[in-house]
Symmetry: C2
Subunit: 113 residues, 2 copies
């Protein structure tokens, strides 16, 4: 009854955040600059989206050093993985629906036979 | 090389707008209240997103009457259909990648053999 897009979670669905979670789904811990380059985001933009994801407990962020270099490590949480997988299920549902349209409920179809 | 989410268009990808275009992909002309109910949006929220889609020439909006009732008809344009279909292709690419992860490029994989 409800449209598949109604089940999408805006925190996860937003393009940059979907990309961050997709990368972390493959590589559960990633360095800030790796994410920035993989997703072609500016540092400011990436920081902002990471903060939204951290506030929603979908990622954790750890700052530290590797030798003398400051590093920021981003890790997907269990909730982050669950939320991302739910998004993927909902997107698949949307795609199935687009590719196999159901007739509209109010008899507006014009197919005959 | 580039991550599939980089190819998503924010105008189309945003959750409510993706829903509007998905409904119009099935039912090319739909009445405002039909969209509102199908997508579980408030009228204000739907209006705002329709305006963004109209400004991007992805839908057209016609106001008129059906008997004495004011009606707003929304129609997907050819560009709207093309943009939506591109989004679906990109989402499928993302899903393929999630379900069949490629090894990361920098030799961080820990598979042997």
């Amino acid at each position: 009854m409800t449209h598949p897009t109604n089940g999408l979670n805006d925190t996860v669905h937003q393009r940059a955040r979907l990309g961050i979670l997709a990368v972390l789904h493959e590589t559960p811990t990633a360095e800030f600059s790796f994410l920035r380059d993989a997703l072609d985001l500016t540092a400011g933009n990436l920081s902002r989206h990471l903060q939204v994801l951290e506030e929603a407990a979908l990622v954790t962020i750890d700052k530290g050093y590797e030798g003398r270099r400051a590093r920021t490590w981003v890790r997907i949480t269990k909730s982050g993985r669950t939320a991302f997988e739910k998004e993927i299920r909902k997107l698949k549902e949307l795609i199935r629906r687009v590719e196999q349209p159901v007739p509209p409920p109010e008899g507006t179809g014009d197919d005959t036979g």
